[in-house]
C-alpha cells in the first residue's frame, strides 16, 4: 500500500451502494464522488443523510454492498479486513465527537497507542523515534506539561488538542473528523478549528469534516451537502447521522 501519486484524487467513489441491513433501503447510493488531495472539505447534511455511513466506508470499517471505493489510491474492497485495519491505522487520522480519548491512558500513551497500530503496519520507525515524534507533536500543541496526565483529567480545551495530536501522530494523508465540535462552546469551537486546519496544513493532510453546523463552512476550501451526491436520502429519518 502506497500513498497516491501527486495530483491524483484522495478519494474516488463510483456507483457505491450501502445499506445497514439486507432488506432495508440503501443509506448510500453514490454514483460518483471525487475529492482532491490536500482539500479541506466540509460535509454537511441533515441527520440520517448518510454522513457517518460514508465516513465508515472511507475508513474501511464497512464495505459497500456494491461499487468501488478508492481512498488514497487504494481500492478498499480489494483489501482483507486486517489490511483495511492497517490501512486505517497508517493513513487515516480520525477525530470524533467529544474527542474520545482513552480516558485511563496518559496523553502520551493515547498518542503512542495510535502510533503503535500505525507502526505495526509500516515498521519504519523505532520506538524511540515514535516517542520523539509524539513528544515533538505535543510540544507543538503546547501539551508537553500534560504528557503524563490521564486523559480523563484534562479540560475540554486540552482534550481537543490531544485529539488533534492523536489524529496527526502518524502524519496521515487523510483526516476524518466526525462532528468534533458539536459539544463545544463557541470559543472552544473556534480554537479547535484553527488548531485542526493549521496542523493539517502543516502536514499536507486532506480533511473531510462532517458537521451539522453550517457556520463552520467558511473555514474550508469546499463545502458539500451530502444530499447532492447521495440521492438515497429521501428526507426520512434513519439511524445514520
Amino acid at each position: 500500500m502506497q500513498t497516491p501519486a501527486q495530483g491524483a484524487p484522495a478519494i474516488v467513489l463510483n456507483d457505491v451502494v450501502f445499506r445497514w441491513h439486507k432488506h432495508q433501503p440503501p443509506v448510500l447510493q453514490i454514483p460518483h464522488l471525487q475529492i482532491a488531495q490536500h482539500q479541506h472539505l466540509f460535509l454537511y447534511g441533515p441527520s440520517g443523510a448518510g454522513k457517518t455511513s460514508l465516513l465508515n466506508i472511507l475508513a474501511g470499517i464497512n464495505l459497500p454492498d456494491s461499487g468501488r471505493v478508492e481512498v488514497l489510491g487504494q481500492e478498499l474492497s480489494s483489501l482483507s479486513a486486517a489490511k483495511r485495519d492497517q490501512f486505517r491505522a497508517h493513513f487515516l487520522g480520525i477525530i470524533f465527537q467529544q474527542f474520545n480519548l482513552i480516558p485511563y491512558l496518559s496523553v502520551l500513551d493515547n498518542l503512542l497507542l495510535k502510533a503503535q497500530f500505525s507502526r505495526q503496519f509500516s515498521k519504519a520507525s523505532s520506538s524511540k523515534e515514535v516517542l520523539h515524534q509524539a513528544q515533538e507533536l505535543l510540544a507543538q500543541l503546547d501539551l508537553s506539561s500534560l504528557m503524563q496526565h490521564k486523559a480523563q483529567s484534562l479540560s475540554v480545551g486540552q482534550q481537543q488538542r490531544v485529539a488533534v495530536a492523536r489524529a496527526l501522530i502518524n502524519k496521515p494523508p487523510l483526516i476524518i473528523a466526525d462532528e468534533p465540535t458539536s459539544a463545544l462552546d463557541n470559543d472552544n469551537r473556534d480554537n479547535f478549528m484553527h488548531l485542526l486546519l493549521t496542523s493539517a496544513q502543516r502536514h499536507n493532510s486532506t480533511i473531510i469534516f462532517v458537521s451539522h453546523d453550517k457556520t463552520l463552512q467558511n473555514h474550508f476550501s469546499q463545502a458539500l451537502d451530502i444530499r447532492t451526491f447521495n440521492p438515497a436520502y429521501a428526507g426520512g429519518s434513519r439511524h445514520d447521522g
Binding site: N62, F96, Q98, D109
Partner: protein, 415 residues
C-alpha cells in the same frame, strides 16, 4: 503496549473486577489448599514410622491399630498381656521389640509408656533415629522424655517436674499428683506425633496406677510404689523389628494365629495404603468440588467480562477507529484474562501460605498433621498453565463478543 492497555483498562474497572478477582482467588486457593493438605497429610503420615516391620496390638481393625499406636489418634479397644510381649520378644525372627502403653495424658499431650528400645530402634522419615536436643533417655523410674513440641509449647526445661493425668479426655481428669515426673530429656523435632508425646518408662505407668480398680482412683506415694513389683500386666501395643524382612508375613501369620490371646499384627505400609484407599474417595470428592468451584469462578469471570462489553462499547469503538483490528481486540481481552488469572494466582498462593502459617499449629494439635507452609508443588506451574488455558478457553466468549462488536460497530457507534 497491549499489556499496558489491558492492565490500565482493568484498573479503570477495578471496582467491578474486584469481586471477580476475589472469587477466582478464593477458588484457586481452595484447589491449592486441598491439594496441599492432601499431599502433606500423605507425606506426614508416611514419614511417621520407618523401619518397623510389624505393629502388634489387641484384635481390632488394621487402621484403628495403626491410628492409635503410631498417630496417637483414637484409643485402643483392648490391651495385650505382658506375657504375650515376653513370648514374642523371644521369637527367633524378632530383632527388637518396643512396648507401647497408652492411656494417660499431660495437658492434652498423650503419655506413652515404653522402654529404652524406643530411643534405640524407633525410626521415622527415611530411617532417621530419634535424637536428643537436651538430656538423655530416662534413667530413673519417674523420668520423662518430652517431644520437641511438648517442651516448646509448655515451656519445659531439663529437671522440670510435671504431673500426669489419668485418661486422655480434655477435662475432668484425675491427676496422679502424688507421683510427679522429672524431665530427663527433650527430643529434637521430628515433624511426627513423637513431637507431641510425653514418654515415660513403662514401669512408671504401672507405679502410678498401683491399686487402681476400674472406677476407683487410688494414689500411692513414690516410696511405696518403688517397693512394689512394677512389672506391667498389660501393654497397649508393640512395634516389632525383624531380623529379615522376608519373614514378615510368616511372623505376621503366626501372631495373628497366636493361641493364648487374640492378637493382630499389621504391616505399617500395608495398613497405610488401606487408609489411603479408604480416604481416596473423599479426597477425590474434595478435589472435584474444588475444581467445580474453580470452573464456576472462571465462568463468573467470563460473564463479568461479557457484561462489561456493553460499558466498553465506546472504548472498543475508539480502538477500532484508531486502527485496532478485530483480532487485536480478541487478544486484548485474552490478555486481560491472563492478568486476572495471574493476579488471582498470586493472591491465592499468598492466601494459602498465610492460612497455613496461621493453621499449622492447629492442624498439628487437632489432627496430628505436620504440614509445610509452602503450598507450591513441583507441578504447580503446570497446574497454573492448565487453569490459564481453561480461563482463556472460557474467556474466549467475551473475547469473541469484543471481536464481533468490533466487526459490527464502526463510527456509526455514536461516541
Amino acid at each position: 503496549m497491549m499489556v499496558k492497555l489491558a492492565r490500565l483498562s482493568l484498573w479503570n474497572r477495578r471496582s467491578t473486577l474486584l469481586l471477580t478477582l476475589f472469587s477466582l482467588s478464593l477458588s484457586i486457593a481452595l484447589v491449592l489448599g486441598v491439594d496441599h493438605l492432601r499431599n502433606q497429610a500423605k507425606e506426614s503420615f508416611n514419614k511417621t514410622l520407618s523401619g518397623t516391620d510389624l505393629i502388634v496390638g489387641a484384635r481390632t481393625g488394621n487402621i484403628n491399630l495403626l491410628l492409635y499406636t503410631v498417630f496417637r489418634l483414637g484409643d485402643a479397644t483392648n490391651n495385650i498381656s505382658w506375657a504375650s510381649f515376653q513370648e514374642l520378644s523371644k521369637h527367633s525372627a524378632v530383632d527388637w521389640i518396643i512396648p507401647i502403653s497408652l492411656g494417660d495424658s499431660h495437658k492434652g499431650y498423650r503419655v506413652l509408656g515404653t522402654n529404652q528400645n524406643y530411643f534405640t530402634h524407633y525410626q521415622y522419615g527415611q530411617g532417621q533415629s530419634l535424637e536428643f536436643a537436651q538430656g538423655a533417655a530416662f534413667k530413673d523410674i519417674y523420668d520423662v522424655v518430652l517431644g520437641a513440641e511438648v517442651a516448646k509449647k509448655l515451656g519445659y526445661k531439663l529437671a522440670d517436674t510435671l504431673i500426669i493425668a489419668h485418661g486422655t479426655a480434655q477435662a475432668n481428669l484425675h491427676k496422679h499428683d502424688t507421683q510427679p515426673f522429672k524431665v530427663s530429656g527433650i527430643l529434637k523435632p521430628t515433624g511426627t506425633p513423637v513431637d507431641r508425646t510425653v514418654h515415660t518408662h513403662l514401669t512408671a505407668l504401672t507405679a502410678i496406677h498401683l491399686g487402681w480398680q476400674p472406677g476407683i482412683a487410688k494414689e500411692v506415694n513414690p516410696a511405696d510404689a518403688l517397693k512394689a513389683d512394677l512389672t506391667p500386666s498389660s501393654i497397649t501395643a508393640m512395634l516389632v523389628g525383624l531380623k529379615s524382612r522376608s519373614t514378615t508375613f510368616n511372623v505376621q501369620r503366626q501372631i495373628n494365629e497366636y493361641p493364648q490371646e487374640p492378637l493382630l499384627a499389621i504391616v505399617p505400609g500395608v495398613a497405610l495404603s488401606q487408609l489411603w484407599q479408604m480416604l481416596t474417595m473423599v479426597e477425590n470428592l474434595l478435589v472435584m468440588i474444588a475444581l467445580f468451584i474453580l470452573v464456576a469462578a472462571l465462568l463468573g469471570m467470563a460473564s463479568s467480562l461479557l457484561a462489561a462489553m456493553n460499558e466498553r462499547q465506546r472504548e472498543i469503538a475508539i480502538l477500532r477507529a484508531l486502527g485496532a483490528s478485530a483480532g487485536y481486540l480478541f487478544v486484548l481481552i485474552e490478555v486481560e484474562i491472563v492478568l486476572i488469572i495471574a493476579s488471582a494466582f498470586i493472591i491465592a498462593i499468598a492466601g494459602v501460605w498465610l492460612g497455613l502459617c496461621l493453621g499449622q499449629a492447629y492442624l498439628a494439635e487437632q489432627f496430628g498433621l505436620f504440614i509445610s507452609t509452602n503450598p507450591l508443588q513441583i507441578y504447580t506451574p503446570a497446574a497454573c498453565a492448565l487453569v490459564l488455558v481453561l480461563g482463556l478457553a472460557i474467556g474466549a466468549l467475551p473475547a469473541f463478543a469484543a471481536y464481533r462488536r468490533a466487526l459490527s460497530d464502526g463510527l456509526n457507534q455514536r461516541l
